[in-house]
Amino acid sequence: MFEDGTIINELLIERLNYLIYVVLLLIGLHAMIAKKNLIKKLIGMSIFQTAIILFYVSIGVKEGSTIPVYLPEHDLHGSHSVPSDTNETSHFEHGPFIVDSSLVRGYANPLPHVLMLTAIVVGVATLGLALALCLRIYQGYGTIEEDEVLAKIERQEMLSKPSIVVKSVDSSKTTNSKAEKPPSKPKVSSSSPSTKRPQAIPKTKAKAASTSAKAKTSRAKSVSPKAKPAASKSTTTGSKKSPAKSKTAASKPTTKAKPKPKVKSKAKPAVRTKSSSPAKKATASKPKPRTPKK
């Protein structure tokens, strides 16, 4: 099947490196486009990078060549110097000499290696930068899934845009209407772990809600601006019950963090009485920060 010199033969047998470089590059590209998780996107980006590095290294390969470090007979200095009593090196003058073109073929091409060596280190630096941005996004939005982040941004924009136009609606309606439709709005204030955001968000939300408050003014009369905190609290509780999938995912870290140590401290002594000493167990199950042991 492969004997008749088709393109399959060329790609699969003689140029497998080039084929694999294309395949890896496409895998990375597809991951960067289609994956929703930002960390997955970054792994795709790294695969893309290494595919390009593979390509560069592949074009620098020469058949039957050695690594780009001079053989001892081409570099007669330092620890590489060959003693002059051997016959072989007696016709070389002491010191390095210009390697002629027939010997140049014996070494692999150093130029792609140099270019790619710096590219790798810069690649990890940029990976760190991107991960820092991921952390920041997680602090702001409580998730690193791209579609959820986009949905949150969209909702925020949708809520904050009309507030520029209509500002003079009285605030009594706003608080109430907010209390009545929790499922759509209060995600950000409840889920975001950042310290600044929960203060900033309800304000814009209050403004925004004022525009869409026409229909639901049933309890609007009795509410004074004082009632704001209570209303916002009710929204937070409402958000936890709401069945939207993204919301439950977002509020997981705050809710999940608490019950875990309790469960653990209960479970541990019961099961591990034999396997570890009781003193160690007590220290392990205590929720204290790790201290350096000196």
């Binding site: 001892p72 620890s79 051997t86 099961v271």
Partner: protein, 137 residues
């Protein structure tokens, strides 16, 4: 050419080309390498077949350490075909690698097991084997 200590790649290439008639030392090295490969297959099979994290780490920790050490020692023996200065140097470098693998590999498997222990991963008992649901996990 007798003092080319740092250039070990051509040395290896030459030694590989002359494997048509291996010296007894090289033959012993090849034998060690094959034995290491055997244990490595055992490690891989254990990683797949064992049901539980701890038993899997047992296979990985022991088999991996032993097989890597055996293979590296075999490699060191294969590379010293002429007992020259360079091949001795290479042999001692490889033995240094073997020493560090002997130190670090059990430590890493200990750290993994300890992490699993802290995370309340329970070892599998005979009771779990009888339950049909335990087989999936």
């Amino acid at each position: 050419m007798s003092l080319d200590q740092t250039m070990f790649i051509p040395v290896l290439a030459e030694s590989l080309q002359t494997t048509s008639s291996p010296t007894p030392l090289q033959f012993f090295g090849i034998l060690l390498g094959l034995l290491g490969l055997f244990f490595f297959v055992g490690t891989a099979v254990g990683m797949i077949r064992f049901p539980d994290f701890y038993t899997r780490m047992h296979a990985a920790g022991k088999g991996d350490t032993l097989s890597t050490m055996l293979m590296l020692s075999g490699f060191g023996l294969v590379s010293m075909e002429d007992l020259s200065m360079g091949s001795w140097l290479l042999f001692f470098k490889i033995m240094g690698v073997v020493l560090f693998i002997f130190i670090t590999c059990p430590t890493s498997s200990h750290a993994l097991m300890r992490a699993a222990f802290e995370d309340d991963e329970m070892p599998m008992t005979e009771k779990d084997l009888k339950k049909p649901s335990a087989k999936k996990k």
